[in-house]
């Protein structure tokens, strides 16, 4: 494992991680370091295991084998009562958005802050400002089912970043967006990255990867396509 110079300790370390769903191998022997404050793309064709990788990092699924450390904390050792606190440090954009359909846009985004016990006035301010960035400020009172696909995705993005997380996991965050909106979103993520967040984006949009020029991790059938030799930067 090479130690990355950008940031201090790696934000995410995966050692020989396997993930099996029944007999199906979704991830095979993944060993990967992501430095603190790094920006990483995960790519690969449909079914390669991108979403699975992010789910493991967010403790949505348990690993089948191997170890994952986030900020030095071993995810297999963490007691289940601590999981919520860990998740509050991570913002996640799900491929299928996962908005609560009985709550409106504002409430969906505000939920993240309510969970953290942020004050009401504070919540209002933060939610409005983040919705403004993704261009959904005037839809605060709409319900997810009355939004277009791209609008839902933008709400999901707002929710992921509203809590100022140290790590942002984004699963195809621009899949439903036209190129202009996509650029806005990528700009937003880069801004967070510059202000210190570690960012992992799963995507199959090579235009975006090219325009960003960050490190790319390539998955194929659950395997790392080429052992990622972390290029020593600076």
């Amino acid at each position: 494992m090479t130690i990355h110079e950008k940031g201090s300790a790696p934000a995410i370390r995966m050692f020989h991680v396997h993930k099996r769903y029944g007999k199906r191998n979704a991830l095979v022997d993944i060993t990967l370091d992501i430095a603190s404050q790094e920006f990483v793309f995960v790519t690969g064709p449909s079914g390669a295991g991108k979403t699975t990788l992010l789910k493991l990092l967010h403790l949505v699924e348990p690993v089948s084998e191997g170890q994952i450390l986030i900020d030095g904390i071993n995810l297999s050792r963490i007691p289940s009562s601590r999981i919520p606190y860990l998740r509050r440090k991570i913002g996640i954009i799900f491929q299928d958005y996962k908005l609560i359909s009985t709550k409106n846009v504002f409430e969906n985004v505000a939920l993240v802050l309510e969970v953290m016990n942020v004050k009401r006035s504070q919540i209002k301010k933060k939610v409005s400002s983040v919705l403004r960035v993704v261009g959904m400020e005037d839809r605060m009172n709409s319900f997810p089912l009355s939004l277009s696909g791209g609008e839902q995705q933008r709400v999901a993005i707002a929710r992921a970043v509203v809590g100022d997380p140290k790590i942002i996991l984004a699963d195809e965050p621009t899949g439903s967006l036209d190129s202009d909106s996509a650029n806005v979103v990528m700009g937003l993520l880069k801004g967070f990255n510059e202000r210190g967040a570690t960012i992992v984006v799963a995507t199959h949009d090579h235009d975006i990867i090219r325009s960003t020029g960050a490190r790319t991790v390539n998955l194929l059938d659950g395997r790392l396509e080429e052992p990622v030799k972390a290029e020593v930067e600076a």
């Binding site: 967010h58 949505v60 009562s81 919520p84 606190y85 860990l86 998740r87 509050r88 996640i92 799900f94 996962k98 908005l99 609560i100 359909s101 009985t102 709550k103 409430e107 939920l111 993240v112 309510e114 969970v115 953290m116 929710r159 809590g163």
Partner: protein
């Protein structure tokens, strides 16, 4: 806490349809159980008024002096379970007998000397009016030397007690059954509601909500549902009661018996119970639910 109550209320607004169903379900369950309890209480009441007729007669030996009568009366009054003792002289007894048997009154016309014994009529306190206790009392009275015989309508009381027991046991069994069924139904309804909201709960967990944060408003909702359901159930029962007792009034005007409704305390108890029901329904479903 206020925050959680607010969230619970918002939640009820967001999920009106399902909360309405939960409330109706709780109301119906409350209605069923309390209707049965009311029915049972009233029926018991009827049987009890009959039981009041139960009395013990103690007949004195022919040669007991008048002066001793009071002493014996005091002795009997001192026995456990005795409420009141009335002395009935042989003359009174004959009059009562004649009145009782108008038809056969002619029999007594050419009657010689009054050979009836003096007697005590003994009334018992309500709690002692069971067959077993009456028998024990009768034996005790019999042991008084001046008492010749004790009569207490064994057969009647026996039949009565067995029926009363039957009634009581089935009543309790059915009340318990209905109650359990109500708990199940409410728990199932809430489980179904949570099931249809499992995605929402799952999403909340994914954005870092602790179990407490998720559960607190659900419990509060359960309790609020329970309260609404309970009030609705009791009100419906009261309406049904008014309808029935109005009907009754016509049917058996001037009857000795008055339909009873639940006391205010019982109302209150039922509503508390149904709040508990809402809570319990939540508890049972959440337990299984948050595991999965």
């Amino acid at each position: 806490m206020i925050f959680f109550i607010k969230r619970a209320l918002l939640d009820i607004r967001d999920n009106r349809f399902m909360h309405l169903i939960a409330i109706i379900t709780i109301a119906l369950s409350v209605l069923i159980v309390s209707a049965f309890v009311l029915f049972f209480v009233n029926a018991s009441e009827i049987l009890n008024t009959w039981k009041q007729g139960v009395r013990v007669m103690a007949y004195l030996k022919p040669d007991v002096a008048d002066s001793q009568v009071l002493v014996i009366k005091q002795t009997i009054l001192g026995m456990p379970g005795v409420e009141d003792v009335v002395f009935i002289s042989r003359e009174e007894a004959l009059e009562l007998l004649k009145a009782d048997m108008k038809r056969q009154a002619s029999l007594f016309e050419n009657l010689g000397e009054n050979q009836l014994p003096d007697a005590f009529e003994i009334h018992m306190v309500a709690s002692a009016r069971s067959w077993g206790k009456v028998e024990i009392l009768a034996r005790e009275i019999e042991s008084v030397s001046q008492i010749e015989d004790v009569e207490y309508g064994q057969k009647w009381l026996g039949r009565f007690s067995s029926i009363f027991n039957l009634f009581r046991i089935t009543g309790f069994a059915m009340g318990a059954l209905f109650f359990l069924a109500a708990v199940f139904i409410v728990a199932n309804t809430i489980r179904l509601i949570l099931y249809s909201r499992r995605e929402e709960v799952e999403i909340m967990r994914l954005v870092g909500a602790s179990d407490g944060f998720i559960k607190a408003p659900l419990y509060i909702e359960g309790i609020i549902q329970g309260a609404f359901g309970g009030v609705l159930g009791v009100l419906t029962l009261f309406a049904a009661y008014l309808a029935i007792s109005a009907n009754m009034g016509e049917g058996i005007a001037g009857t000795f018996f008055q339909l009873k409704f639940l006391s205010f305390g019982a109302w209150f108890g039922i509503i508390i119970c149904s709040m508990f029901l809402g809570w319990l329904g939540c508890y049972l479903s959440l337990k299984q639910f948050l595991k999965a």
